[in-house]
Amino acid sequence: MHIVVCIKQVPDSAQIRVHPVHNTIMRQGVPTIINPYDLFALEEALRLRDRLGGAVTVLTMGPPMAEDSLRKALTFGADRAVLLTDRFFAGSDTLATSYALSMAIQKIGESWGTPDVVFTGKQTIDGDTAQVGPGIARRLGLNQLTYVSAIGAVDLAARTIEVSRRAEGGVQELATRLPALITVLEGTSEIRRGRLADALRAARAEVTVWNAAQAGITEMTKCGLRGSPTVVKNVFAPKGRATKASLLDTREKTPGELAEAMMARIFDALPGIEGDLLAHAAQY
């Protein structure tokens, strides 16, 4: 089976700094990582391939530097990597991104066989929108399975797949047909550590690099800023909580008194919670 996994290189948000005057992102020295959610998708894809045979192609759209993430994905055990990079893509929002990626997936299909499943992470940590996956599904007419926590039976001959997905208030078990698009819920399986042989292969592998034309994209009005209906008008730093935590004064108090004081402060701050707690306690 042929599986495509879309990954994204993102700045490590833990290390982002904001320019104190201009409120712009200061990227200098901020390392990039593979979007952590995408690693869950990649691991699920690798497991599926290990189970059913076939190949995993990783795809990313981004600056030339994003090749690093692809190489890393190969080290984990992916079979092939495609970098979609073109200055026309700069400023893409989710709609334009899903357009470019879906065109590239089509091209991947023409080059190495139509994918049976396309994976994406649940969302990215920089954009955080969770829309690129559904966008790709719509554009390519793939059956959309979001927030998948487990992949069940897959029948390649009958072209069916069963998954468990997170739904409101529970887990939904769905059956659908291939080809499908799966966005993977976080916390499913940690990414594996690639074997030495995989790492060596990855270090030598050629990453396929496509610009827009090479990916078969001709309608440039659907790409980048021009293809993005949304526009960011203003970026600003959040107002920090004005006051820091009010700390209980621990001097000359017994731990018991402190616990009493804390409980009282909690009940003060959240009127009504005491009643709820009592109601709960009454049930037990």
């Binding site: 005057v21 200098q28 074997r195 030495l196 270090a203």
Partner: protein
């Protein structure tokens, strides 16, 4: 039972390993480079000075795309006491040359870039892969390495150890001794982020110009060590380092020293309003010439910090690392061309070439310095105080005539060290400097 055989394996992707792997790959050898960090530079202390010459010898065009921060136009050398500094500043417009000689860099970015060039030159680079042990044949010859990844060993005709100061692989294989507390300094460093224009204004800089401050004195509390401050584009690197032995004897933590340094009135205002990111501690091999271990053996060579190639007096390390890496690689290439084995006897050529280069010459020149400073702590404590007092006396206009002021300064000096002490100090320094 093994995956495959390489001409050479390089352990580490710091400046030494990169220089070695680059030179080998450029010469068409089949090279594997192994780095334990997520990427080259990810484990390295941030912010440093790059001496262009060593890199230029490898890659004349490096300025085209290397991530350089600022070229240095001004050097400040400060002797500090508790609330002042006496110093020498040198600034020259002639440093604004077409090919500047010194740059500030951010190591994580620089090493990553350098490593990409290594890969482009044709080396196979594996990151997140730690070499756990050297593989030896029954005669004790090094024939390859084992890693922490699942899989077999990898073989090579020669292994170049560029694993940095800790050098665990070499130690485990018995190629060299454990680090001596008297031979290593512990440096701590922080990056202070500030907008580019604030840095330019604070240090009187335009464009890519940069400043370096090197400081010694009471800031190290009488221990052997120095502090520094470099300007990067959008950040300032500050750090301080002391010999590990001194820190242990005085029960002082280097982070406490750094806090005190940052709080010093001469430094505090330079860092004001900055956002601190990335605190890093790292060892520097400062034992000098006498601490240099065995540099080669059957099937192996050692380069860079792992070989103790640091010139502590001039704060040079990465240039010695690159140069030793290049020379080691050139030696291997030379042997390969002559179809000769990488035996200890043949690899001795590496040491001969090093002796002829500035690396060994400089280390030899300063071989007396570490011991000198260790035995004469007053150099770093007393003299800065005296200098500061002298400046105070000299600059204050208070009705005292200048001759009396001169007399007071001289009396101060003599009271502190006595004539014999002063002459002795001058003599010691001159001898160590020779």
């Amino acid at each position: 039972m093994s995956l495959e055989v390489f001409d050479a394996i390089v352990i580490g992707a710091g400046p030494a390993g990169n220089a070695a792997a680059y030179t080998l790959a450029k010469s068409g050898l089949k090279v594997l480079q192994l780095e334990r960090g997520e990427y080259a530079g990810s484990k390295n202390v941030q912010g440093a000075i790059l001496y262009a010459d060593a890199l230029e010898k490898l890659m004349p065009d490096f300025r085209e795309d290397a991530p350089l921060e600022r070229h240095i136009v001004e050097q400040r050398m400060w002797m500090m006491d508790d609330n002042s500094h006496t110093g020498m500043h040198y600034r020259s417009d002639s440093f604004n040359e077409e090919k500047p000689n010194r740059y500030t860099i951010i190591r994580s970015q620089f090493d990553r870039w350098f490593n990409r060039r290594v890969r482009e030159a044709g080396a196979v680079v594996l990151c997140e892969t730690t070499v756990t042990e050297l593989l030896k044949d029954t005669n004790g010859r090094v024939i390859g390495v084992k890693t922490d990844r699942h899989g077999d060993a990898i073989l090579a005709d020669v292994v170049i150890l560029a694993e940095g100061v800790n050098g665990l692989v070499g130690q485990r294989a018995g190629l060299r001794q454990e680090l001596q507390p008297a031979h290593v300094a512990l440096a701590v460093k922080e990056m202070h982020f500030l907008p580019e224009e604030v840095i330019a204004a604070r240090f009187n800089l335009k464009g890519d110009e940069g400043v370096v401050i090197e400081a010694m004195g009471t800031i190290t509390k009488g221990m052997v060590g120095t502090a520094f401050l470099y300007t990067n584009r959008e950040s300032i690197s500050v750090g301080i380092g002391c010999m590990v032995q001194d820190l242990a004897e005085n029960r002082v933590s280097s982070s406490a020293l750094l806090e005190a340094f940052k709080a010093h009135p001469s430094i505090r205002s330079l860092l004001e309003g900055s956002e601190v990111r990335e605190y890093a501690a790292h060892l520097i091999p400062e034992g000098g010439y006498k601490a240099v271990p065995q540099l080669y053996g059957e099937g192996w060579l050692v380069v860079g910090d792992a070989a103790h190639f640091v010139n502590a007096v001039h704060r040079e390390g990465s240039n010695l690392a690159m140069t030793s890496g290049r020379i080691a690689a050139e030696t291997v290439v030379w042997l390969k061309r002559r179809r000769e084995a990488c035996s200890a006897e043949n690899l001795a050529e590496y040491r001969r070439r090093l002796e002829a280069s500035f690396v060994m010459k400089d280390l030899k020149k300063y071989r007396g310095i570490p011991a000198l400073l260790h035995r004469n702590k007053h150099f770093l404590d007393l003299y800065p105080r005296i200098a500061s007092r002298a400046a105070q006396i000299w600059l204050r206009v208070d009705g005292v005539d200048k001759r009396s002021k001169e007399g007071e300064i001289v009396r101060d000096l003599r009271a502190a060290r006595g004539w014999r002490g002063l002459v002795g100090d001058a003599f010691k320094v001159a001898r160590a400097w020779r």
